[in-house]
Symmetry: none
Subunit: 658 residues, 2 copies
C-alpha cells in the first residue's frame, strides 16, 4: 500500500509502508541531517509529524512532550499512512571566532549602582582661585577640595599627573572634574584615594566612564568594555593571544620566556593583542550622545578607560607583567607572585588612561590562577551549599570541588589536544574547523559539521571529542584507542603517521588534502581526558566525596561552551551523571573579572576564594598516577563508572574489542 507524504515545502515522495521518513525525505529531495548515520543516536533528524500515522522505533533524545507534539526521529520512524511532516529549518551554523559569537547579553549584577558601589569616583569641583591673600599651592588647594568632598583620609597622585594639574586647573578656570579610585573604600573609614585624572571644566553626570574586564587565556584573549556608570557590557572582543607563535601551551611559552629577551618579547606580544582589542572595542561603541552633550564622538575614548581588572592563568599573568615564570614549570612549581599589587596602566603598558588602576586578580598556585578564582566567583561555586564540581577545560584542566563551606582545587596538564593543537589535523575552533562529527555504524562513513559553512580545514577540540566518541561507539577504535584497520572501509588505513581514520577526503577539503585522525592523535586525546578525569576523581577521593554526590558540574572555559556532554561522557572526559547536572558557563574567567570590576565586594570575595582554596598538587600524589592510568581507556577501565555509556554501546550493538 502506498501513501502520499506531503512535506510542507511542497516536496512529495511516494514510499511503501514501513519506509523510514528519512528515506521518504530523500526521495522527495528534502535535506535532513543525519550526522550519526541514521542510528538514532544524535537526535538531529527530528521532524514534526502533523498528520498521518507513523511508528517510532526509537525516540532517544525526545521528551514525552516532544512526542506529544508529534516530533519523531526521521531515521527511526516508519510511515504507516499518508502523512504530513514538517522539517524544521536545518541548523545554520555561522561562526566567527567562538567567543565573538557568544557576545552574549551579560546581566549587570543586581543592584549595581555607580555612586554607591564603584571604587571609581568622579566629581566636579569649583575651587577658589589663588590670590595674593591665599597663595596655597595648586596641589594642596586641589587636595583640600577633594577631601572636603568625601571621607577618605588622603589623596595620592603620581608624578606624571602632578605635572599636569596646574595646567588643568587654569585651563578650567578653577572648575575641574576629578576621577579617583578608592579601592579599599569598604575596608576602612580612613582610606587612601588615588587621583586618576583631572580635567578642565565640570563634566556631565552621564559622560562616559569606562572599565575593562580582561581574560588572558593561553589561546584566546578576551576584552569586555564596560560602562562603569550603568555596569553594562558594551563590547566584547576576543582575539588569539599573540604569544601563540612562541608556543601553544604555557610550558613552551615559559621556556621561550626564559631565554634571553624572551620575557620582554612575550610581554610585548600579549600587550599588542590586548591593546588592539581595546582599540577595536573602543571603535565599536559610541558613548551615549545625549549624556556626552554636544560633542558626540563616534567612538569611546581609551583615555576614559580608568579601571581594568585582569584575570588569566598564572603563567599568562606573569608573562603580561614581565615576571619570571620559570618557577611555574619546575618542581616544586611556585609562582613569583600570586597576589599582584595594584598597578597603573602605564606600568603595565595598556593603552588606556595612563593612571587607570590595573588590578590583576589573585591566583592560588602555579596551575590554579586568577582565571580559576575569578571563575569560581562567577560560577558561584563558593556561594551555594550544593556540592559543586567546577571544571575549567583548556590547555590545563583545572578543577575546583566544594561549596560555600570548603573548596579544594587541583590542576593537571591536559595538553593542547582539546584546543586542536598537538594533533596532526588539529586547528582552533574557527572557520573551517570540523566541530562535530557522526559516524555511520554500518558503513563507517562520517558526517560532520564545519564552523562557518566552509570547506573543512581541520578538527577543533569539540570535533575531536565528538569524533573520538563516535569512533568508539561504532567500533572504529577499541577501548584502548587502537584503530581497527581490519574494518571494511577505505577510511581506515595505515597513513604516514601510522593507523588513521579519514574524516574528509581531499576533494571535500579547503586545502585539498585528506583530513584524518591518527592513532597518535587519539593517544593524545585519551591522555588529555584521562588527566582531567583523574584530576577531579582524585580531588573527590582526597576529600572523601563520592562523585555521585556532586550535585552540579559547572564547566568553564570558552571550550566549555561547545562540547557535547553526551560525547564527552562517552570518551570518559566528564563523569557519567544525569545531563541536567551539567552547566556550561562559557568564559567564567572574564565574567569574574567583570564582577570584580563593578564591585569591591566581588573583588574581595575573589581574594577570599584564593585564600580559602586548598590546592592539591597532583604531581606529588601517587593516587593521581593510578587514577590517570585507569582513565587511559574509553571511557574508563571500570565500565561500571559509566553506566550510560555501557547502555549506549549495547543499544547500538557496539563491539567492544576484548
Amino acid at each position: 500500500m502506498e501513501h502520499t507524504v506531503r512535506f510542507a515545502s511542497i516536496h512529495l515522495a511516494r514510499v511503501p509502508t514501513g519506509a523510514l521518513l528519512t528515506e521518504a525525505a530523500r526521495l522527495a529531495g528534502v535535506e535532513i541531517n543525519q550526522p550519526c548515520g541514521g542510528q538514532g543516536r544524535c537526535g538531529r533528524c527530528a521532524v514534526q509529524v502533523t498528520s498521518g500515522t507513523v511508528r517510532r522505533r526509537s525516540s532517544l533524545r525526545l521528551s514525552a512532550e516532544d512526542i506529544a507534539e508529534g516530533y519523531a526521529l526521521a531515521c527511526q520512524t516508519v510511515v504507516e499512512s499518508d502523512a504530513t511532516v514538517m522539517v524544521p529549518e536545518q541548523e545554520k551554523v555561522e561562526r566567527r571566532l567562538t567567543v565573538d559569537r557568544v557576545a552574549a547579553e551579560v546581566q549587570v549584577p543586581h543592584g549595581y549602582h555607580f555612586h554607591t558601589q564603584q571604587t571609581i569616583h568622579r566629581m566636579s569641583l569649583s575651587l577658589t582661585p589663588p590670590s595674593m591673600d591665599d597663595q596655597t599651592d595648586d596641589w594642596s588647594r586641589l587636595r583640600k577640595a577633594l577631601r572636603r568632598h568625601s571621607d577618605w583620609t588622603d589623596v595620592s597622585i603620581s608624578l606624571p599627573l602632578l605635572r599636569r594639574i596646574s595646567g588643568v586647573l587654569r585651563q578650567g578656570d578653577w572648575h575641574v572634574s576629578a576621577i579617583l579610585d578608592v579601592p579599599d573604600w569598604e575596608c576602612s573609614p580612613t582610606c587612601q584615594a588615588r587621583l586618576i585624572d583631572l580635567r578642565p571644566g565640570h563634566i556631565a553626570e552621564g559622560a562616559p566612564l569606562w572599565g575593562l574586564a580582561i581574560d588572558i587565556g593561553t589561546t584566546t584573549v578576551t576584552v569586555w568594555l564596560v560602562d562603569l556608570l550603568t555596569g553594562q557590557v558594551r563590547a566584547q572582543f576576543a582575539e588569539y593571544n599573540g604569544q601563540i607563535v612562541r608556543g601553544e601551551d604555557v610550558i613552551s611559552r615559559i621556556i621561550y620566556a626564559s631565554k634571553n629577551g624572551g620575557a620582554e618579547e612575550m610581554r610585548q606580544k600579549v600587550l599588542e593583542t590586548i591593546n588592539e582589542l581595546i582599540q577595536r572595542a573602543c571603535r565599536s561603541v559610541a558613548p551615549n550622545a545625549a549624556a556626552a552633550g554636544a560633542v558626540s564622538n563616534a567612538a569611546a575614548d581609551p583615555n576614559d578607560i580608568v579601571k581594568v581588572v585582569v584575570a588569566g592563568n598564572s603563567t599568562m599573568i606573569h608573562l603580561l607583567l614581565g615576571l619570571p615564570a620559570v618557577g611555574i614549570r619546575l618542581a616544586p612549581f611556585v609562582t613569583s607572585v600570586n597576589d599582584i599589587p595594584r598597578l597603573s596602566a602605564a606600568e603595565v603598558g595598556l593603552s588606556v588612561n595612563a593612571e587607570a588602576t590595573v588590578d590583576c586578580l589573585p591566583g592560588v598556585a602555579s596551575y590554579v590562577g586568577a582565571d580559576i578564582t575569578a571563575g569560581v566567583l562567577s560560577a558561584g561555586t563558593d556561594e551555594s551549599t550544593q556540592l559543586t564540581l567546577f571544571l575549567d577545560v583548556g590547555t590545563n584542566g583545572e578543577t575546583v570541588l566544594g561549596s560555600s563551606e570548603w573548596l579544594v582545587t587541583c590542576a593537571c596538564s591536559a595538553g593542547p589536544a582539546f584546543e586542536g593543537a598537538g594533533v596532526v589535523n588539529g586547528m582552533r575552533a574557527t572557520r573551517g574547523a570540523i566541530e562535530e562529527a557522526w559516524i555511520n555504524g554500518a558503513t563507517y562513513e562520517p558526517t560532520y559539521r564545519v564552523i562557518g559553512s566552509a570547506k573543512p580545514r581541520g578538527l577543533c577540540g569539540s570535533g575531536l571529542i565528538s569524533l573520538l566518541a563516535e569512533m568508539f561507539l561504532t567500533g572504529v577504535v577499541d577501548k584502548a584507542g587502537n584503530i581497527k584497520l581490519d574494518l571494511p572501509s577505505p577510511r581506515l588505513r595505515e597513513g604516514e603517521n601510522g593507523p588513521e581514520y579519514v574524516v574528509a577526503w581531499a576533494v571535500e577539503t579547503a586545502h585539498g588534502r585528506d583530513i584524518a585522525i591518527t592513532h597518535v592523535d587519539i593517544d593524545n586525546l585519551i591522555r588529555a581526558k584521562a588527566a582531567i578525569y583523574a584530576g577531579f576523581t582524585v580531588l573527590a577521593e582526597r576529600v572523601g566525596v563520592s562523585l555521585e554526590a556532586v550535585e552540579r558540574v559547572l564547566i568553564g572555559g570558552s571550550f566549555g561552551k561547545y562540547i557535547n556532554v553526551e560525547k564527552a561522557i562517552q570518551i570518559g572526559l566528564l563523569p557519567d551523571m544525569p545531563w541536567d547536572r551539567f552547566h556550561f558557563l562559557g568564559n567564567t574567567s572574564v565574567q569574574g573579572a567583570y564582577r570584580a570590576l563593578l564591585s569591591p565586594a566581588a573583588r574581595k570575595a575573589i581574594q577570599q576564594i584564593a585564600a580559602a582554596m586548598t590546592y592539591i598538587e597532583l604531581s606529588a600524589d601517587n593516587s593521581f598516577y593510578d587514577a590517570f592510568m585507569s582513565a587511559l581507556f574509553l571511557p574508563h577501565t571500570d565500565l561500571a563508572m559509566f553506566p550510560s555509556v555501557s547502555a549506549a554501546t549495547s543499544d547500538f550493538g557496539l563491539r567492544i574489542a576484548k
Copy 2:
C-alpha cells in the same frame, strides 16, 4: 623658505626663515650661554655673523662698533638667509667651586644610631625553600619573612623589583638581604614598609649603605654622600647647575621652561649635573674595606645609595621634577606643589638605586622653598628662644624672622648681582675672580685678592660688595652710588658703558682687558642690597619687632661664607649691629637635607617648620616699596640706622655727597 646656517666649528643646522640664532645653535648642537634666559638683557650670547643676512631685534649691550663687526645677540637675532656664525669661545668655568674649597667637617647629629633612628632598614633573611608541601609564591614567602622581622603591617614593592625577587631568592639559595624604607616608622605602630632592594646572600653588618643630601641652588648644586651606618658625610661635591646656560636667575629659567620642550631640557640639564656629582662623589670614596670583607672596591657603588633628600628653592624643585613653574613667576605667585609626595630615584631620574626613596623637602611658597625650611632647621632658628633673623642670600634674598615661638618669612628678588651676573665685569666666585678689594683713600689706587692666585678675570659677589664699600668709604661714589669722575685718578673715567672705576688694568688681567665697575653695575648692586634690607626690615615691622631686638643674625647660602660683615654693613646690605651677632652658616640648605636624611624627626620638624611659617608677600605690600626706596642709598637714607658706618666714614674722612 629654509636656510643653512653654518657655525664655524662645522656644526650645521637647517632652520626656517625667522628662526632665532639660539634655536639654530641648539639644533646644530652648539652651546651658547644665555644667562638671562634669552631675553636680550645680559649680552652673553653675542656671536659674530660673518656672512649671510640676519635681522637684529635688539642689540642691547652691543656697541655700534660691535654691530659693525657683525656681532649680534643670538637670542635676539633671526636668520634671513644662509649664514655663517662665529661663536666666541664660551666662558670657561674653572670647576673648583667655592663649596669644594670648604668641604668642611660636618658633625654627625648627636646620638645618631642606624638601627634605631634610620628609616632605612637592612636585614638578612633565611627562608625555608619551597617544596611540594609548601608551594607558597615567592613574594608571599618573602613578605611573610619580612613581617616576622618587624612590626610593620605590610611591605610594598614596585613592579620592576617584583620582577627580580624570584631570581635573587634562588641565586642566594633562599638566603637574602633586604633593604627597606619605613618612612613613617615613628608615626604609627602599623606602618607600611617599602622594599628597596633584595640581594642574594647575607650581607655583612658593616657593608656600605649610602644616602645623599642634595641642595639644588639656582647657581650651584651640592651633593653630600653620607654613610647611613655612621651618619658621616664622606664626600661633598658641588658644581654649577647645568641650567645656567638657560638663564642665571629663576625668572629667566621659568620663562625658558615655559617654552616648548624647555621644561624637559631644564630637567635633563640639572639631572646631568646631579648625576655627574653623584659619580664624582662615589669615585672619591672607597667603602670601609674591612667591613665590606674580601671584596673591596675602589669606589662606592651608586646602587648602594638607597635614600636621597633634596632641598632647593621652589623653582629648582619644580624644574627637577618637570613640574610647571610658570605660576611661580606670575601673580599671585603660587607653586604647583609645595609638599612633594615621596618618589623613587627611577621616577626622578637619579643615577642611584632605582628604588631609592627620594624625598624633596617641603617649601612654603613660590619664593620660600625647601632650601629655607631646611635652612631654618639646620640653623636652629625654630629651636631657640632667641629672636633670630635668618637670611639666605642668593639670587633671591629670603628672610626668616622668629624663634621657637613663631616664624615669619618673606622673599625678595635681589637679582644676580651678588653672584657676579648682570654686571659688566662680573663673574662667579671661581679662579680669577677678585673676591676682595681695598681702595687707597688718598690715591684711589686699589689692591685686590684673586681666587686661586691667578691673574684677575672679573669681579665676583664678595668682590663687588667689598669694592662698593671701599668706593663709598673713600668717596669714589656718593651715597646715591654716583661715581665722582672729578677725582684725580685715571681709574675714574667715562667708559663705553658710562662712568666707571677701573679695578685692574689690562696688563694685569688674564684676558688683557681692563676690569672696571660701572655706574650701572653699582646701581644693580644697590638695588640688590636695598631689596634684601627692605625685606627684613619690613618683616620686622610687620611683626612689631625692632631690628635692635634681634639677638642673632644667621646667614646662609654658599655666598654667606665669604662676605665680609663689615663691608656688607657699610653698603647697607646687613643691619648695623655688633658683629658677634652675625653667624655665617654656609650652605644651610644641604645641611638641612642632611639632617632629614638621618632622622625622621628632623624630616618631620622641617614639615612643621613649613606648616608653621607665615609667609608675607612683599610685592603686595606698599611699605616694602617705601623701605626699598629708602634703602637705595649707601648705606641708607637714614644714617642713624648705621651708626658704625657714620663713625667709619668720619674716621676715613669720607665726603658724603649732598
